[in-house]
Symmetry: C2
Subunit: 350 residues, 2 copies
DNA sequence: CTGAAAGCGCTTACAG
DNA sequence: CTGAAAGCGCTTACAG
């Protein structure tokens, strides 16, 4: 018989069920039944129950999470996978994450964060994470090609703002097209006609939806859509060189904030000279000066919902993966106003 | 003999070492030696090694994390405990967390977040977290009384900006007094003499250090310290009613941002009418308009260091708990300028 | 009401 | 070089 291993001395280890049982003069199972509320039909007499509780308290007993997970096939932990730019904080993620944390802790689940550098290359790491350390995984803003990889079937997934529909995965998103539509309608109602839209990467679902909403609003007001006014995210907008727009509608708040900074450098005031609008209504929108008119996505609530859906999937696997779409809210703030009356001399935008 | 349990059908379960061994015609231990690089002295012949690798690949084998953790007494996971106001994002925490995440993933550790509502009451939950689910715990800004609770000895702790010294716990902090000193020196050099300091909760280490630095700088310039100019964090400053200061030095960036907002409501311009300075140099400082002069604490680097120290503690427990103090950097930005020359009529500050 | 047994999936001595 | 055995700490049938 091998000696018991002792990397650390036994005395410095946490007490086990066996220790509690020995102390109370009962078996480890009896202790398990009392302390960890096993669903066994058996009941323990009030007297031994008390002895066990006292012994457990005296030994400062805590059930070992790894052992429990191994026996139960349940880690009580959900994973969150997201791309977080090393060094730069991503407010979109942070607000979602805040909701996930709150909801997970309410459901007594731990939350483990997996950071990816890039969905395209790092998505291949996802199956490796489904090795029993998490019971389910929330993908925040995944953009990988589902055909390039088979997702594991034994761990349920939920996605937020997935760029493509992943088979068997519930996706949670907002009605982004409607948000873009309402935003542009607001700008139109203020009298703007030349509305620039700084969008995200071409070909992605989110940007495409915003562009669709943008175009729909313009069409509704019979304003022709000038393709030069739609510029991709990086926004080193050569197309804007000749004509400064009256209003800039950006695909997210960070882009809008970047526009505001550049406008300030050019000596232009927001909203007096140019109106600027964002999307997401993250902290950046509330903290900018002037505050940013934006489309509110309930990111925190979406994070909360993601946890709830994921837990439901964990309980009963194989349900229908019907996507969940949240409504959006237009939040008018100071960065949008009526366009200037007089045509001014147009400076070079970058 | 009990039947194998089958909550899910066996075929839908992840492959185990036994499965791989069977497939390759060897024992599970041989498979373990090849696949999980067990440190056993034995070596496997090149030929069976290949068979095992092929079998593992075919079965899509992943070592089960819970089983590994149980056998190894090592979860490859570090915990992070912090108070995060439900609903409100805390940039101090987020920047630290960013560093922790980056460093943990570099060391192939998972990161689990535990959110507390309040250190005083929730610190009692900490021992319960040391149940094998984490190998070590980073406490971000703990403020509980160490005498009210014995920390578990079998799980190492590291703290960031701990309010009191916790026995056996390495604390990581910044030279905050020096930061406050340099900040007030800057304000003095600009010609300010009536410098308000909006500080944090009285009696906490951080605020006390800032106050000490503030007073040291004033003393160095032979400017008498007016106790009415030091106001606690909530800053519904009745003491400021009669005399508006030339400059306000806040104990963190969020407080400074709040001051700037109130000043704007009062029609006062920063820095033309009042200079405002913050502490921490979080995102808020860079995003405010005008940008906030602040004291830079390398929060992300501190998070990274926290992980490294914690891992060292996990490897060899019981080292000296020598605190780590980072230097600070003064970051001058637009929110601080020379005081206005003319005494103006003083409006009521709240 | 209570306990002996087997199992979760991995490791680490140890024996061949 | 390879395998049978025992153990990590818990749980869930099952038998008394």
């Amino acid at each position: 018989m091998p000696r018991p291993r002792s990397r650390k001395s036994r005395s410095n280890r946490a007490a086990t069920l066996a220790d509690v049982g020995r102390e109370a003069g009962v078996s480890a199972m009896a202790a398990s039944a009392v302390l960890n509320g096993a669903r066994t039909s058996s009941r323990i007499s009030e007297e031994t129950r008390k002895r066990i509780l006292i012994a457990a308290h005296g030994l400062n007993y805590r059930p070992n999470a790894a052992a429990r997970a191994l026996a139960n096939r349940r880690m009580q932990t959900i994973g969150v996978a997201a791309v977080i730019d090393d060094g730069e904080l991503n407010h979109y993620f942070l607000e979602v994450f805040n909701g996930i944390l709150a909801s997970a802790s309410r459901h007594e689940q731990n939350t483990t964060v997996f950071t990816l550098h890039n969905w395209g290359t790092d998505a291949a790491r996802l199956p490796g994470l489904c090795d029993g350390r998490i019971d389910g995984l929330i993908l925040v803003g995944p953009t990988f090609d589902p055909k390039s990889m088979r997702l594991p079937t034994h761990t349920p997934f939920v996605s937020l703002h997935a760029n493509t529909s992943l088979p068997g995965v519930v996706n949670i998103e907002c009605d982004e097209e409607q948000g873009a539509y309402e935003m542009v309608r607001l700008l139109l109602a203020q009298g703007h006609r030349r509305i620039m839209h700084v969008t995200g990467p071409i070909g992605m679902t989110g940007p495409e939806r915003r562009i669709r909403g943008y175009k729909r609003a313009l069409a509704g007001a019979r304003v022709p859509a000038d393709p030069d006014l739609i510029v991709p995210a990086n926004y080193n907008a050569t197309s804007a060189r000749d004509a400064l727009p009256q209003a800039i509608f950006c695909a997210n708040d960070s882009a809008a904030f970047g526009c505001m900074e550049t406008l300030a450098e050019l000596g232009l005031r927001v909203p007096d000279d140019v109106s600027v609008a964002g999307f997401d209504d993250t902290l950046v929108a509330r903290i900018a000066m002037p505050q940013l008119t934006s489309v509110h996505q309930p990111l925190r609530a979406m994070g909360i919902r993601a946890v709830e859906v994921l837990l439901a999937c964990i309980e009963r696997p194989g349900g229908a993966a019907k996507p969940i779409v949240f409504p959006v809210d237009l939040v008018p703030r100071a960065s949008v106003a009526a366009p200037p009356v007089v045509d001014r001399i147009v400076p070079v935008l970058r």
